[in-house]
């Protein structure tokens, strides 16, 4: 609800002559492959974002704009600062300096939850499904503006039953779309890695976001599920949402993204459409600098394997 109103309010002011602005994918045509290039209809604008850990500059982004209504991929070698940048955009970490705007509103001093309510919802590299809640309860948790989540109303079920039923219906629709409907009564902890990714994505949609941020949606997902996940990501764009995702899987990047942003050593070194960006000298240098004599695609396979193994280890420990 809140997100929609913001959109309604900001769009006209941002673009008084909306007919002239090249929205969505159209807006990306003919843009220069330069880092920080201005987009005709940006949903997110980051300026001068810096974050240091100890003496190390993890993220140092001068300027970056994300076009509304398209799928943007964020790639880069390991340790490039992609996830940190993600955390900074979504309020899970605060930059030492610089600011970012969402729909023209500054996100300075805004909490992660507030940013999520504004319509910028993320998933996590290591999925954060709530394993001791059922799949359906996980989904219900995602709904915003719940009356029953207020303390006093919580005690009086008749106040929130109706809304809960409506949320449940929406949740079931989404679960059906993500083919998780058969599992709605199971504990989320019993799902496979890929199913968790799907659940997390479906749960994020319960928030009714404008911008969905996916942190490595393919990591640890078995190949059979990958195609359907790709389809789901694409369908988000068809539904009018903007998608920003971090990924190591170059096939996925090539397959579904409209625009690719490349980070290395904390900086955005290049951006552009997927077909031309892979051959950009700066991108090749960045990857070669990180891993000598490795072909990009091969490197990605290794990275994915490593990530998957790391995740497996993590799951074993838990």
């Amino acid at each position: 609800m809140a997100a929609e109103t913001t959109q309604d309010q900001t769009n006209p002011t941002d673009a008084p002559d909306a007919g002239q602005v090249r929205t969505g994918r159209e807006g990306l045509v003919g843009l220069e492959n330069e880092p920080g290039v201005a987009k005709p209809d940006p949903i997110v604008v980051a300026t001068g974002i810096m974050r240091q850990f100890g003496g190390l500059k993890a993220v140092d982004v001068d300027h970056l704009e994300i076009q509304r209504g398209v799928i943007t991929a964020l790639i880069g070698p390991n340790g490039a600062g992609k996830t940190t940048f993600f955390n900074l955009l979504t309020g899970f970490d605060t930059p030492d300096s610089g600011d970012r705007t969402f729909n023209g509103r500054s996100l300075k001093r805004m909490s992660a939850s507030r940013i999520a309510r504004m319509g910028m919802v993320r998933t996590f590299q290591l999925t954060k499904v709530l394993s001791k809640l059922t799949v359906l309860e996980n989904m219900r948790l995602g709904a915003t503006g719940q009356i029953g989540e207020r303390f006093w109303a919580g005690v009086l079920p008749f106040l929130w039953r109706g809304q809960e039923a409506a949320n449940t219906e929406r949740a079931r629709d989404l679960l059906a779309r993500f083919k998780l409907d058969a599992k709605e009564g199971d504990f989320a902890g019993s799902l496979s890695g890929g199913q968790r990714k799907l659940l997390e994505m479906a749960r994020a949609l319960m928030v009714e976001p404008e911008l969905v941020m996916l942190d490595e949606p393919m990591a640890g997902v078995n190949p059979a599920l990958k195609q359907s996940l790709l389809g789901h990501v694409k369908s988000l764009r068809e539904d009018g949402m903007t998608v920003l995702f971090v990924e190591h899987d170059m096939d996925m990047v090539r397959d579904i993204s409209d625009w690719v942003v490349v980070m290395a050593a904390g900086r955005v070194i290049a951006e552009g459409p997927p077909d031309s960006i892979m051959s950009d000298q700066r991108v090749i240098d960045a990857y070669l600098g990180a891993h000598h004599d490795t072909d990009i695609t091969q490197l990605d396979a290794e990275a994915v394997m490593a990530e998957a193994e790391a995740e497996l280890r993590e799951e074993e420990q838990s």
Binding site: L130, T144, G154
Partner: protein, 322 residues
Amino acid sequence: MDLLTIPLHDAFAPLAVSFVLAAMGLNIHYGYTGLLNFGQAAFAAVGAYAMGVAIASFDVPFIPAVILGVLFSVLLALLMGIPTLRLRADYLAIVTIAVAEVLRLFFTTTNKDYFHARDGVSGFTSGFRNANPYSEGMLGFSRNDLWVMTVGWLLVAFFCLLTWLLVRSPWGRVLKSIREDEDAVRSLGKNVYYYKLQALILGGVIGAFGGFVGALGLASVQPDSYNLDFTFIAFTMLILGGAARVLSPVVGAVLFWGLLSFLQTLLSKLIGEWGVIPDSILNSEQIGNVRFMVVGLSLMLLMIYRPQGIFGDKKELAIDGR
């Protein structure tokens, strides 16, 4: 025979009710939200002192005095929660344990005209006792005790119902989710900090009611009733019953309080009447220490071997240990 009757008696007495309520508050904190409050005694103390001093020194009527006690416990929750609830779980634990100790020092050493140091506050029960419908005592309880117990157990029932309703509501769903993974909840647009603060306040207020019942039962409020022992006994009771179940603190508290009373009776008999244990190993002063050593050991062993409590099923372990 005393070995059975005394513990049974004690397990339902006013003091036990006060621990039941304290443990129920901790259940909201730790059981449902994952907050580590090691200073539940502070909530009980602040509630009891506010009520006691308001009546004894300022002639406030009983009900407004209770409301005052509740307000003070809310203030205390804000004082401890605001600086810590954005941080790691340890910080709340550190601050609560510290505040509880400092408050005890404060009640012991300052404002002696109102707090009366170690002697404590007394002379605040008449308003409550005048409403006593019982004309005589029974089952070994005095008529005052019976009245305190009636009100106390009704409070327990009320808070059980409240907890039951809350944990089944979307509000409770948010709490349980916070316990499992704060960041996930945050990413869905919920203000985690705000919910944690609400949980801290609710559990603290229930703890304050524990303070009221204890104070009315003893007819006095003494600083040493609210030392760390109070909190840790309540914690052990909660873990024994199995956290994150509505009735577990009740069952755990009655059982554990009965057990402690049994141990007290048994040890007194062993060194006194029966003379089995010589005075050089255990004298009557040391019985308390031995009982509390058992509390500490029980808490450790429960947490290591049965974190889900005696009735819990490990598979659907409600509390994630990590």
